[in-house]
């Protein structure tokens, strides 16, 4: 109740280098995405407002670098994510095969409360290209086996399904938010004076 602020969702985009994560973002925000931080600190960031039913939500999208040297940042980057987007290239079988390890790594690093039901979305990108290596059916089977992850086939180049995919991402992340437990139903413990050690001098920090 009493929430005037828009919901803010942290969305992480993962996948091998070259699957088109950045192009998807470019397409999605209709503008050249600068990629300015990725090489330096391992991720780039984008803000986008989306309407889901009658709610406006703000998506804070983290486009991560796929390189080895940023793997150690996983914990920090994945922490507190509301949704994870796994991207592969339908023409490159290795990028599909690595989805398992991306998903596993995310779950290990982010350590969400309820890993079984954590919202993922899978995007099979570059469907405009031939030859196709991963069939729709194969991708769907994998998604079903992972507790029914929603699957979208996209083409960043031709703007195919990109909007819809991000809608679904926002919706999934939001559904997770709605389960928020009431953290404030209990009255916090009052101070017990016997436990609070009387303090006098010697408290040397002036800040």
């Amino acid at each position: 109740m009493a929430t005037r602020k828009k919901v803010l969702l942290k969305v992480i985009i993962l996948g091998e280098s070259g699957v088109g994560k950045t192009s998807l973002m470019n397409q999605y925000v209709n503008r050249k995405f600068s990629n300015q931080y990725k090489a330096t600190i391992g991720a780039d960031f984008l803000t986008k407002e989306v309407q889901v039913d009658d709610r406006i939500v703000t998506m804070q999208i983290w486009d991560t670098a796929g390189q080895e040297r940023f793997q150690s940042l996983g914990v920090a980057f994945y922490r507190g994510a509301d949704c994870c987007v796994l991207v592969f290239d339908v023409t490159a079988p290795n990028t599909f095969k690595s989805l398992d390890s991306w998903r596993d790594e995310f779950l290990v690093q982010a350590a969400p409360q309820d890993p079984e039901n954590f919202p993922f979305v899978v995007l099979g990108n570059k469907v405009d290209l031939e030859p196709r290596a991963i069939s729709t059916k194969r991708a769907q089977q994998w998604c079903q086996s992972k507790n029914n992850i929603p699957y979208f086939e996209t083409s960043a180049k031709e703007a195919l399904n990109v909007e819809q995919a991000f809608q679904s991402i926002a919706r999934n992340a939001l559904s997770q938010q709605n389960h928020t437990v009431d953290l404030y139903s209990e009255l916090p413990e009052p101070i017990s004076l016997t436990k609070t050690a009387p303090r006098n001098n010697g408290d040397s920090c002036a800040c």
């Binding site: 109740m1 009493a2 929430t3 009255l187």
Partner: protein, 256 residues
């Protein structure tokens, strides 16, 4: 404190409602800012001398709580009722709970209202819950220009059911009804919700003074009525009373 801007002083009900102020009511004390020679009114001194809390005069104190999302105008409504002034502009949010004592006269009886103005923010929720239990009456406010505040009314009512006494008097109030151009919640939406939950309903404007006294006076009347043993379990008398008394603004928006 925001000064009375002097623009809004049409208090609709003031002429025919005999509103007494409580003895320690701030407004009854002229404010010559305490320079030498200033003497507080005798009743203030008497009160302090007798160590008097209001309940000592033998009458029951009726605990009334203002509830609703933050920013719907709970404090403004109370300040308007208490002082006749409207806090213009961005009036700062209530910190925790604010307490105001007010004595009003209804049906030739003095009724003592102890009004608890609660902060609407979520972090204060657990603190205010503790006060629901003792409440005799609840004024539950939303802002007719803020859909979220209206949507949250159901959740508030659920909370009230959980924490308050079963026989608590509840009045649903759609505040800021002067803001017609920004109105998002029609009067009939509020009315329908109130009927669904079997609670009294009115629209108010703390800014214009519209129905402000009526809101509190209806509560006082109902509480007084019940105290005198006229309480009928099966219906809310206050609802009918409110319907009879509500000043319905002539604008089309409010009457839909």
């Amino acid at each position: 404190m925001a000064a009375d801007d002097g623009i809004e002083d049409e208090v609709f009900e003031d002429q025919h409602l005999n509103v007494l102020t409580s003895e320690n009511h701030k407004n009854s004390t002229p404010s010559p800012t305490g320079y030498r020679g200033y003497k507080p009114p005798q009743e203030v001194l008497n009160l302090a001398e007798s160590d008097g809390t209001l309940s000592e005069t033998g009458q029951e104190v009726h605990k009334t709580i203002l509830l609703g999302d933050s920013g719907v105008g709970k404090t403004s409504l109370l300040v308007k009722f208490d002082t006749g002034k409207f806090q213009q502009g961005n009036f700062a949010a209530t910190v925790g709970i604010g307490f105001t004592n007010k004595v009003v006269t209804v049906d030739d009886c003095k009724v003592k209202l102890q009004i608890w103005d609660t902060a609407g923010q979520e972090r204060f929720r657990s603190i205010t819950h503790a006060y629901y239990r003792d409440a005799h009456a609840l004024l539950l406010l939303y802002d007719v220009t803020n859909k979220t505040s209206f949507d949250n009314i159901r959740a508030w009512l659920t909370e009230i059911r959980e924490y308050a006494k079963d026989d608590v008097v509840i009045m649903l109030i759609g505040n800021k009804c002067d803001c017609n151009s920004e109105r998002l919640i029609r009067r009939e939406d509020g009315d329908r919700l109130a009927r669904e939950y079997n609670v009294a309903f009115m629209e108010t404007s703390a800014k214009m003074g519209l129905n402000v006294d009526l809101a509190f006076m209806s509560i006082a009347r109902e509480l007084n009525y019940r105290q005198n043993g006229n309480y009928d379990n099966n219906r809310f008398r206050v609802q009918d009373y409110v319907r009879e008394q509500t000043y319905a603004p002539s604008c089309t928006n409010c009457n839909v």
